[in-house]
Subunit: 245 residues, 2 copies
């Protein structure tokens, strides 16, 4: 009921964003319980000394995140469900780390190779052009988990093997000033080949989860193409998704 909200007008952080974060924190903390009404926008604006559009912008951000639901004539309610996060472009590294499993990485290859037709098409370069190839084996709890093979255009990023073993590829890219925008993914399954079985300590023919992903930055340039193979017995993709209204 108390629900302390306040904004700092001297801060460079936008007002709507401050409000949005405070509301999200209150939901996370349980101060705003699922199903509870938020109180109407006009009052809220008045109490905070903000205008209604600003308050609406803050609320809209949380509606887009799936945390709130608005109903005309009724009000804005906290959605009561196990919303975690609406599927981000996360790396396996981050996923594992978030799950509390300290991931380890072994770089198997880090070279320049001429692009095959498939890679060239995905990255938008000419066939035969040199591209970076990074092949890694990722472990969790000391067990091999996945074989990750990534292709990157040249001249985008310095790929340092020690760094690749210490963190994830996406972090390196973000750190290099590349703003990831979207990705096209394909998730399937197939039986393990002899080489894969050897590498992942599985039997030949064991089911593997496969993922192909092309990632684009905000200029539409393909910045990465990866074909990955996961041990199905050890890993599954978990995600939350929102229906866009």
């Amino acid at each position: 009921m108390p629900l302390q909200l306040s904004v700092d007008r001297t801060s460079p952080v936008p007002l709507y964003f401050q409000l949005s974060q405070q509301l999200e924190a209150a939901i996370e903390r349980g101060t705003l319980t699922p199903g509870s009404l938020l109180g109407n926008e006009i009052d809220l604006a008045g109490r905070l000394g903000l205008s209604r559009p600003t308050v609406r912008q803050a609320i809209q951000a949380l509606v887009d995140k799936g945390l709130l639901v608005r109903r005309r004539g009724v009000g804005t309610q906290v959605v009561h469900s196990q919303v975690k996060r609406p599927l981000e472009l996360s790396s396996l590294y981050d996923d594992l780390e978030a799950a509390g499993q300290k991931p380890a990485t072994k770089v198997l290859r880090n070279t320049l190779e001429p692009a095959t037709a498939e890679v060239a098409a995905a990255l938008g370069v000419a066939e035969g052009d040199d591209v970076h190839l990074v092949e890694r084996l990722r472990y969790a709890h000391g067990e091999p988990m996945a074989q990750l093979r990534n292709y990157l255009p040249t001249g985008l990023l310095a790929l340092d093997t020690p760094q690749l073993e210490a963190t994830g590829l996406y972090r390196l890219m973000r750190g290099a000033g590349i703003t990831l925008h979207s990705a096209r993914q394909s998730v399937g399954a197939r039986a393990a080949t002899a080489a894969e079985a050897e590498l992942l300590a599985e039997a030949v023919g064991a089911p593997l989860l496969t993922m192909q992903r092309t990632t684009f930055d905000d200029t539409g340039r393909a910045v990465e193409f990866g074909t990955h193979v996961y041990r199905a017995a050890r890993y599954a993709f978990e995600f939350q998704l929102l229906v866009r209204p």
Copy 2:
């Protein structure tokens, strides 16, 4: 360059939505080419006889969809990449239909069953309570493609077998006035059991793609829990996802 834009003020469709749809259509059609500037918001508003907030709302909708990128001091650009759609909560039926493969469905079971512990937990009902069980086999091009098993709480929807064979489950739910809000999914892989192999015309031990999904409506109520099995040789999940800034 011409780019015919106009809004109909007598229409009940919101102005920002009319504009947003026209812009999206122009991008789809190729009239607005990737990388091209959209022209500044003030002018655009003036030319259309709209206010700037309305134009901004229209543009924002497309930015959220990943079709446009805004840059302060530069302008709004059409993102040039193969954006299709940012992963909707789509049913297999819709997916197949969109791919031009006429899907067929055979209902194997449509009964009431007591909920197991797993189903009860997913749907938020008591263990042993009756729930609907719908088991279907889905075909594409006359070939079996997937086994779909769905559990639904009672009293939500009339599950008519002929209707289930004619369309997808999600369409039925939407038609019954249920507004889908979010879903929690898990995608994995495993080897086919003897029963699954028989049903899907695969060999025992063949890799299968598995998906579990719990769907929630906008009140946070679980409205469906499904465990599905796809022939990995015939199907893969394809989707596009956006990085939320």
